[in-house]
Every structure is written in C-alpha cells, then in structure tokens.
C-alpha cells in the first residue's frame, strides 16, 4: 500500500490488490464508526480508497499504510436480486467475444455472484465485479448517446445497471425494472459498495 497526496485535505491510499482495497475500505469505515478516524468522504474505487475532508492528511498517510488491514468481514446479508430481461442490443457482440451462444451469455451472467466494488458515474451506479478475466469485454468503440434506464451492461471487468437514462459506452445485454436510485427511499441507492448482487433471468432469454 502507498498513500498519495491529494491536495490539502485528502489522500488516496493505493492498495496492492483489489482484495486489499476492499479490506482497507472496510477497515476505514470501522475506524470512522469507532471515532478514531475523521473523514467526510471515504470513497472506494478499483484499487484505491480516497479519504476527503481529513485534517493533516500527511500525518494520516503514514498511519494508514503502516499496517495491513484485516480481511474485510464477509457480508452476511442475502444478495440483492435483480430480475433481468436478457434482450440487450449488444448481446450478440458479447456472445461473439465470449465464444458462446446468446443464451449462454444470460446463463453465465445470471450464474455469477457479483459484488459492488465501488460507485460513480451517476448516483446509484455500481461497478460490479465477479466475472472471470476471460469474460471481460471492451467498451463500444462509439458510445451511445442514450442508454435507457435499467440497462444491464458490461465493460472491462465490470457489470453495471444504468440508474437513469444517460449516454454510455458499455455493452448492453439486458434490462431490469428494478429501481436502482430513488431519493424518496431510504437508502436511496439499491447498490452500495460491498453489496452482493445476483441477476435472475425473466422471460424468454
């Protein structure tokens, strides 16, 4: 692990692996809850955790990287189930990348347990990991100007669900009616970092 400077009030801790980043994130949340760490934002990402709103980040840096974080506790709650119609416009392209049939894309995707590694792009948009490396697909060479809300998509190591209509360059394999983001709901985000997710096929795939 190493801590990188991010201006006067923040620092970025870069982990050696995605697992270590997950463990570090869990440990930082634990410390903040226990009152031994003061940070306005703790933002996990692919390989890093950003702490923002920190007094004296330089002093914190040494402290945070001195010891290996304990392994992240296993999530005990059941995975969030997202019903999916596997009928996306990029299904055939993904099938070709994977060298499988269109039907098998749905089976493989729905047979994988995902975890929200981090959020971003839009409120409630989670970057879900779980697919093995040989299933990674590139982004579309030309992004779509409009991707409908609820679209289930793949890019690189990630699966995601668009919480609302927006432009986007990910490969669309299906759609869900689940509401990913609703500010009238508590919590507003269906998916938060650490949430486990399973996609369940509905209708004819």
């Amino acid at each position: 692990m190493r801590a990188l400077p991010v201006g006067a009030h923040a620092l970025l801790v870069e982990a050696d692996s995605a697992e270590q980043a997950r463990a570090l994130h869990a440990e930082l949340l634990r410390r903040r809850a226990a009152g031994s760490l003061s940070a306005r934002e703790i933002v996990p990402a692919a390989r890093t955790v950003l702490l923002d709103g920190v007094d004296d980040p330089v002093r914190r840096a040494a402290e945070l990287t001195a010891t290996e974080p304990p392994p992240a506790p296993e999530t005990t709650s059941a995975p969030v189930e997202l019903p999916v119609h596997y009928d996306g416009p990029d299904l055939a392209e993904v099938a070709a990348h994977w060298g499988v049939s269109v039907r098998e894309v749905a089976e493989i995707h729905a047979g994988t347990e995902f975890t929200v590694a981090f959020c971003g792009f839009a409120p409630g948009f989670g970057y879900l990991t779980g697919l093995p490396e040989h299933r990674y697909v590139p982004r579309r060479s030309t992004p779509r100007t409009a991707v409908p809300a609820g679209s289930v998509a793949l890019a690189g190591p990630y699966t995601g669900v668009y919480p609302r209509a927006s432009p986007g360059g990910w490969q669309l394999i299906g759609r869900t009616d689940a509401v990913l983001w609703d500010t009238a709901r508590e919590p507003a985000a269906l998916l938060a970092p650490g949430t486990r997710v399973r996609f369940t096929p509905v209708g004819a795939a």
Binding site: L4, G7, E41, G53, C119
Partner: protein, 291 residues
C-alpha cells in the same frame, strides 16, 4: 397557500438553487454540489439574516429576475452586476428591501460569472439528501429555473445585517491557482509538469459547474494505458486524453478514470468559479503541508 414565494420572471442563461451541497455521499456516486463560490453565497446569506445553510440563487453571466409575492429582504453578491428593485437602481452587495409584488432584477455581470441572490428565509424547495442544491451532473435537486417557476421561501430567522456595503473580492482578471502535485503527477513527463506550472493557460468557454476547462499546452503523458477508476475531489486537476487540464468544480463526478496531475488549493476555487472564458490562468506549484 403561503405567499412567501418568488416567481421567476426571467430565468436567465442558467440560474440554479444552491446551498452548501450534499457532502458524505460520494461513495454512492453523489457529488458534493452546492454554490461554486461558497464565500459569496455565505456573505449574501449573512446580509439578509439567513443561516449559512439557507439556499440561494446562483446565476450565470446574465442574471435573472424574480417577483416577490410578499415583502422580503434580498442581497445580491458574487459577480458584480446592476441590481434594480421595482425598476429603481438598488445597491449590490447590501441588504435591500423588496415590497410585495415588486420585481428584483439581477443584471448581467460586469465582471466574473456567478452572482448570488439571497432572500430572507432562504429558498425552501424540498431538500434531496439533506441539500437543496441543483446538481447538474446527477440531476439531483430542483431543475434549473425556468420562467414562471414558483420558489417557496422559508420563514425569516434573523434581522438583516446593518451595514452599507460589504467588501467582496473582485473577480479575477488573471487567475493564479496554487496547486500541490499529485496524486498522479508521475503519469506525466517532467517536461509536462514544467509546462503545467510555467506556461499560461486560458479558461475555456466549455467550462461549467462540473469543471473549469482550459486551453493551452497539452500535457504529455509519461505512461500510456488506462488508470483504474479512483475517487476525485473538488479542485482535482484531471487530464483527459487531449492533455488539457480540467479543474473539477462542485458537480464533479465522484470517481473517474483519468489521471489527476495536481489539486488546487481550496481557497483558490471560488476565484476559479468566477473566471470568465478567456481569462489567463497560471498554475503555481506549492508544497503540501509538511511535505
């Protein structure tokens, strides 16, 4: 129905409701948002007797006009601009009484970009995640004002400030931004870092509440490839593939995949938000605290 409300007569190019934003939700992809020039928003709130948390209006270059449905005290600050109440000239940067039915006209900024309008009681639209701020990137909070919008006001909490004029910093004719290098300065060549901190950039017209875009020498990368997505802060100087530094402002994305070469000192960000397109911009490297 309460008559404590404003009716938008002229929305202007972009007028939004802003407050101190919604910190604490970045891990869910929710930007901080809030007034781009926080000291200006805080000052106009103080002038009308509001708490610092009250919501104000943030205009963009050409002001706005609102009709008060009841007598209110207003103050206009931030970017200097002509102010009229009921057609009569009124002071900028000071509390002004607006009678019931009168129109407050906030004119085109004579310098700077964003003027702030506080109204006694504050704009009382429904908060979202604890804030009334309009977040243009996420579409959270009230939509930008349109003609005819009715904005409810809260109850006044304190008497307006008693003063003639409140000093405010002049919008920058030239922008000097102090930066600390990192976290990804090592993704750029030494020559690029030298250019960043010695050449003059200009504020691009493509700037908005998400970021201040720049025109100038493109920064050369020392390493190719993509950076895995990582957390972003207000003031991060991100460098997209075109090599032109982009300074993230209040509605910035909370994670991103382009390297951040440096971070702007927080005290210099209000000035960045007031810099007009074409304003010359220099980045000056300073050391981080105790580094």
């Amino acid at each position: 129905m309460t008559d404590r409300a404003l009716v938008v007569v002229r929305a202007g190019a972009l007028t939004t409701v802003q407050d101190r934003g919604r910190p604490g939700h970045a891990h869910l992809g929710v930007p901080r948002s809030g007034a781009l020039d926080p000291p200006a928003a805080a000052l106009v709130n103080r002038l009308v007797g509001n708490s610092p948390d009250a919501a104000v209006l943030e205009t963009t270059l050409d002001g706005c006009a609102v009709r008060a449905r009841s007598a209110v005290t207003v103050a206009v600050g931030g970017a200097p601009c002509p102010v009229r109440v009921g057609g009569r000239p009124a002071p900028w940067g000071a509390p002004v009484r607006v009678a019931s039915g009168e129109v407050l006209q906030v004119g085109t900024a004579v310098a700077g970009v964003r003027s702030y309008v506080a109204v006694s009681g504050g704009v009382a639209v429904e908060p979202v995640l604890g804030s009334r701020a309009t977040d243009l990137l996420s579409g959270l909070g009230p939509a930008p004002l349109t003609d005819g919008t009715v904005l409810p006001l809260g109850p006044p909490t304190a008497a307006p400030a008693r003063l003639d004029i409140a000093p405010q910093p002049a919008p920058p004719a030239g922008l000097v931004l102090r930066v600390t290098l990192g976290p990804r300065a090592d993704w750029f060549t030494p020559r690029a870092l030298g250019e960043l901190t010695s050449r003059t950039y200009r504020v691009s017209p493509a700037s908005n509440r998400i970021g201040l875009r720049t025109e100038g020498p493109a920064l050369e990368r020392a390493r190719a490839g993509e950076l895995p997505s990582e957390g972003m802060v207000w003031g991060a100087v991100q460098v997209p593939p075109d090599g032109l530094p982009l300074i993230f402002l209040a509605d910035h994305p909370t994670t991103g995949g382009y390297p951040v070469v440096a971070v702007v000192h927080p005290a210099d960000l209000p000035g960045a938000a007031q810099a007009r397109p074409g304003t010359p911009l220099r980045f000056v490297a300073v050391r981080g605290t105790r580094r």
